[in-house]
Amino acid sequence: MRFRKIAAFAMAATMMLSTAVSTQAAAVGANEDPANTEKTDETITIALASEPTTLAPSLSGTAANEAQIVSSTLMDTLVRQDKVTNEITPGLATAWEWVDDTHCKFTLRDDAKCYNGDTLTAEDVAWCINDVWVALNATNDTGMFVAGAVADDEHTVTIEFNLASPALLGMLSWTNFHVFSQADVEAAGGMEQATKTPFIGTGRYRFVEWKTTEYIKVERNEDYWDPDYAGYFKEIVFKFIGEPASREANVESGDVDVAADMPVIQASAFAESDAVKTVLYNYGQNGHLWYNMTEGHPTADINVRKAIDLALDFDNIAIVGTAGTAQAATGYIDFGSYYHNDTYTPEERAVDIDKAKELLAEAGYEDGLTLNTTYLAETETVHAVIKECLRQIGIDLVLNPTDVPTFVQTANSGDYDIMIIGEWMTDRIPSAFPFIRWDNIHGFHMGGPQTTTDELDGLVHQFIEEKDDETALGILQQIEQIMKDDCMVSNLYPEVKGAILNPDLKGFTTLERGYVCPYNFYK
């Protein structure tokens, strides 16, 4: 008995140590150990930044943040990925084996119960992959890389992918790759209805009610298959409070337990508050300032791009962008990732106003010039800093804060000179570098530089498909060097997300892309 206690203590200590050492968890409090081993009758209320439009994203043919946060409670994925070590662990599949480069065979567990009580079979998984992922999501991540699936027998299913990449397995752990059965979808009233009343899935929680504009309620699935998961809270209620200040005030007033997606600098203001707990966390995405290199934009001239890069005070931009929790980026990929390269030396990152002005003059803009940028209103502060940096070298940056539809349209039409867009890459992902791939560049919603070369495009494909991680890292170095030589992008800082919690709440963890994980909290 005594020995077991000591062993448990030692294990806990090692876990804490490993968390502390890992750079991924460097930001304050992200991905705590979910010691969620107790069941209570309590309810947790989570305030999201906006109301989802669907509760089953893959059935709606979209991938959307809020929808994925909610649906992660209702449905499971085939595999899971440890957010700290990137290790792939079993989910609905207990084992998997690559048959060849593009085929992977998954063995399903036999005790996962669908909403209607039936065991989830290989047939169900194959249906979901063929008729939902592939059929409805051809243009987003969910369907883009999957060709189809075949049920080999009751418990094994083979998935065929469109490309060969070791990154595909990790991708299947993302919440948009949820699996559910056809019988559940039909019982819920068909595909369209199931996006609104998702009485589907094998998940930790069951759907109860979605009262539009007010809340979404789910309750604990008492028959959940994972014996290691208890589900501390009986009910999870999601509310939608658009205004960040109001989300925070709701935590302070005790009406809400978690305010998700707080603008980082705003969240950091509460770091010393006793009334709330602030979590600032890095999630593996670097923010990048892209230059529009198409004809007719001053930024098509490399001297202008270099001048801007020299004028930007990356340290101060990082202070504001990350609320002082991280240093400025030194490469394209986040510090915590295996694929991080120090592409820039500190000297190269230093501000040099005179040199920048010289380059501008060389480009024919000695009298200054006007550039414009479009961004979502929540990133106002960082843009205010960039505007101030550019003012020093005579560039008047016109700020156009806007809403999502206009932002997307502006990005697509290329009606901007510079634009900040981040790329999430903790590990290699099949959709890496969308901005410099020929197959994505014109259709891609976020715009990017809207120009690339065959060389870059080829390297990106090699990077995604390369089996050996070290070789892939080498390829990435080449990509980054080309982008640096041509000054296609200025790497800004590791993006940080913020959340404000009830001070008693523990177990803050994240899903992919830093989404708040709603089901691991406990008190």
């Binding site: 925070e248 202070i319 504001v320 843009h383 205010a384 003012r391 156009n400």
Partner: protein
Amino acid sequence: MAKMHTPAMEKIERKNAKRRKPKRSTPATEAWKRFKRNPTALIGLIVVALLLLIAIFAPLIAPYDYQVQDFMAMSQKPSSAHLFGTDQLGRDIFSRCIYGARYSLVIALFCTIAAFFSGGLLGIIAGYFGGKVDTIIMRIMDIFQAIPMIMMAMCIVAVLGNGIPQLVAAIMFASMPTMARNNRAAILRVRGCDYIESSEAIGVGQVRMIVKHMIPNAVGVMVIYFVGFLAVSIMMMSSMSYIGVGLAAPTPEWGLILNDGKAYMTQSPYMMLFPALCIMVTCFAFNLMGDGLRDAFDPKMK
């Protein structure tokens, strides 16, 4: 028109003009006399004058450049170095509020002038010509009136984007119906007066009638609306900033500074307090002045 300008008419007018001169008791002078005796209105006037001085001499008063960011002094509480504290980018809130007087007052003035030249003019035309013109203009205004002001302004900003001219246009369109209605009412009141009826009877020209007789007599009421609308447009600007359809940073417009500060309201209330005070004091002064003007031009109301 032509028939109005008979020599006889002109003679009468000239005579009238001569007769009026020595008296010097226009509605405006009478109003000023009454206004002077009203202490609250005078306070309003003094505050407005002070604000104007602050706006004009902003660069001399403000200790810092309103756009300079100091990352060594972010989110500092009010102190002797930073009277109103600093914001999340280390900018001096006092300096921003001082420059804010420039931006907010000037934009408010533009909004009000624009509103008068659109809605106001339509109202004057409707009120003066009456009949079909009146019906058509006012029916159109009814339609505009049925769209809430903020909604109208949001739609216009969605179309035109962010910026000072766009903001002025948005507020102008949004306030057009109210402006038209108020000015029409002002003209109608004057129209009903005996002296207008008699000048109509002796055939004074229409333009001349509007410019020489009706506007000077309706001007009192219009000034009240004008001053009142300055306050309204400052408030509207700040509401629009709040919904996120106002001006873009780093313009030091009070509503925008306030909106920046709102994010930190529970931890650093001063960030919101000072710009809110600026808005409040200004609107308060305009409202007091407007109230005084109302009493001055319209003694019957008192």
